[in-house]
Symmetry: C2
């Protein structure tokens, strides 16, 4: 079949839109309950705004040259535009807590639940150095997934300082080398969905020219499981590296703030690296083990991004829900309530149509009955068939109501309206 | 000041987002009340999808080449993607009535309420040949503006056949010539905001190489006012041109269906041409005379667009609300209700923070009190100042509530929660 729209993009119609909206409004309510304000930024930004923040992700930018010859890119994420916004608005009182639900664009290969255009639903705090903000973000992540109805999910947490410390103890001290390890880990991690595997990671590191003995040393650390409450073993095996110790200390403080029902979803996982270069502290990712999907949320602390965008050097931390994957997971687990928008079809065998039928239909609409007025059907059976195929709640044909739903309240309301305003029966 | 984002784009924060959402939800409710289903299409489409439909507008397409070398463009409007969608889905029962609220992108000069990225809010019917559908669209346009609170607005209506007939009577029979007149009229019309002026139109036609005597003949017709109920004078002056007669007949039928309270907003206006090439019948545009803005909505019938997009040849008619201009008009006329999202700030003088304060805040959130938990303030005064600057409804400081709003119900609810769960006072 001939492709009629770009790969990795979706048309959403009817119920599919309602599902997306259901998820967005649930998450919006959670963000509001945490006191976050909404933000919308443009779909196009200057190319330089998105330059230098996303590591290998920068190859995935969709690029445009506008009529004035400016180099633009499509919004790659919401984090960088928020940092740009915060830098642009030093007059706004700090901290700024904002949520943002818009499309992001990445010119990438695509697989299940992973598109080239996809909706992100970000929550970030700018201007807060305290680690209580990091705890707020984990609290938010867990509360959001719970509000959608998920029960079996895991929030993986790690800290960039720990990865840096591990790299240092293996003899890598330059930023580029550390990034190379992080990126390999992230790449292996993404490839394996829920958790990076030893063989994938080994493969990715080899492709990045690490030696086999180096790789074995890294693997021995990141694939072991260490206890956040008792990190002595990790300290020992990383020679009391100061970065490792600092990362652990921060994660201990963050988790210390979290209520037990939040904490029970969190797992300390050294194979989590995240893709963006800009993270400077704790990182997190949410997975739904039963779904076979990649991360449904991700984020972390990124302290210098606002400064890099021309603002002052203030603390930043945040996360994003990946709406598309969340919707796939909810679909597969049949977690949506009934989201059909109730409506009836109004038709008539009287042709040509009369002004009165338009008037009466508008009156029904004023009584909050959603009415599709249509003159495309010549007989009642045809109208009923169409109405059934589009999940209508009923049909009014020549003034008579035919119910197609099992809600007595709904049917009663329409019957009453038809009875109370007898003019309907004559004119509809 | 250095530009940090592309011209003709907006950042919307906090209350500004709430206003946009208010307008979208009002219009969504109107669309739902008319039985329309939601649709979302991608922000990027194949360049060929948008080729050949928008006349001079095609110069305004933002163009992208993707990693696979495909030529893509940003969504220029919602009409063409809907036609593409309808052509892609012959299995969906006809008629399809859909609404769509997404961003459109045009690489254009920009002025007040006219952006390079702007939100459109479209409603269209595909698969309906009857002119009752055209009446549905006008009904929708008027109902939408009324639902937003507008009272003083005008729906200008015209018919492409009438413009064609006028061109024919002046000796122009080739499609290109007719388009040239239409486009000049549209260009003059846009330039003059509410109504094309003789001098502007003359200027635009001269720039398009029409002679002065030709221009005088056209002006004498389109700038005269004719009566839709008694079109004899127009018929006479266009030599009973069959296209003119057909256009008038259709407009008469369409307006015949409209209830008086809808019709009273409609004006027959021969200077209305609309920009898109694809219109084939009635056209409409909505203006708010007091606003000094261009059209706040526009549309018409475009019968062959689905066929041009690879589908069957079915009737199409629709319109789009221009959200940005509507928001500008509502702002200037102070038509928004209070859209501040109620929330309180929770802070404490106890540092470091405790797990209990996180627990208690989550309990308040479960009771639908929006709570921003923040540890960025060392004393109460600082917290209160911040809360005031962000329009918070109050502050809980060390367990004590300080109201910043005048809603007794809201304050009572919080006081009661604090009293009923005395643990709060000790721990918050």
């Amino acid at each position: 079949m001939k492709e009629t729209k770009p790969i990795g993009t979706l048309d959403l119609f009817g119920l599919e839109c309602n599902k997306r909206e259901f998820v967005c409004r649930k998450l919006q309510k959670v963000y509001q309950s945490f006191g976050y304000d909404p933000l919308q930024t443009p779909g196009i930004e200057f190319a330089e705004t998105f330059s230098g923040h996303h590591g290998e992700g920068e190859n995935l930018l969709f690029r445009i040259k506008d009529a004035q010859g400016k180099d633009l890119v499509l919004r790659y994420d919401m984090t960088v535009p928020f940092a740009r916004f915060a830098a642009d608005h030093p007059e706004l009182p700090r901290p700024i807590k904002r949520y943002q639900m818009q499309m992001a664009y990445r010119d990438d290969a695509f697989d299940k639940g992973h598109f080239r255009e996809f909706m992100q639903c970000d929550g970030d705090i700018v201007g807060c150095q305290s680690l209580t903000a990091d705890a707020d973000i984990i609290n938010l992540a867990v509360t959001g997934l719970k509000a959608l109805g998920f029960t079996n999910f895991i929030i993986r947490i790690n800290h960039r300082d720990i990865l840096k410390g591990i790299a240092e103890e293996l003899g890598y001290r330059r930023r580029e080398e550390i990034l190379r390890i992080q990126r390999a880990l992230d790449c292996a991690d993404k490839f394996s969905k829920a958790h990076a595997s030893v063989s994938n990671f080994t493969h990715k590191l080899m492709a990045r020219n690490f030696s086999l003995s180096e790789i074995e040393k890294i693997n021995a650390l990141v694939f072991d499981s260490f206890n956040l409450e008792h990190p002595e073993e990790l300290f020992k095996r990383t020679n009391n590296n100061i970065s490792v110790r600092n990362g652990i200390k921060e994660l201990q403080e963050i988790t210390h703030y979290l209520p037990e029902e939040i904490l029970q979803h969190c797992v300390f996982d050294l194979t989590l690296a995240r893709g963006a270069d800009y993270y400077t502290g704790f990182i997190l990712e949410g997975i739904i083990p039963d779904s076979g999907l990649g991360a449904v949320l991700g984020g972390g602390r990124y302290d210098h991004l606002v400064q890099n965008c021309g603002g002052s050097d203030i603390g930043c931390v945040g996360m994003a829900f990946g709406l598309d994957r969340i919707c796939v997971a909810m679909e597969e687990a049949q977690m949506y309530p009934n989201l059909v928008c109730p409506k009836i079809l109004i038709g008539t065998s009287q042709h040509p149509a009369s002004r009165e039928i338009f008037e009466d239909t508008n009156i029904l609409r004023e009584h909050e009955i959603n009415c599709d007025l249509s003159f495309d059907f010549t007989d009642r059976e045809q109208a009923l068939q169409y109405a059934k195929s589009r999940s209508f709640y009923g049909v009014i044909w020549d003034g008579e109501y035919f119910s197609l739903n099992d809600s007595p309240q709904y049917n009663h309301k329409i019957q009453t309206l038809l009875k109370e305003q007898p003019i309907f029966k004559k004119r509809l």
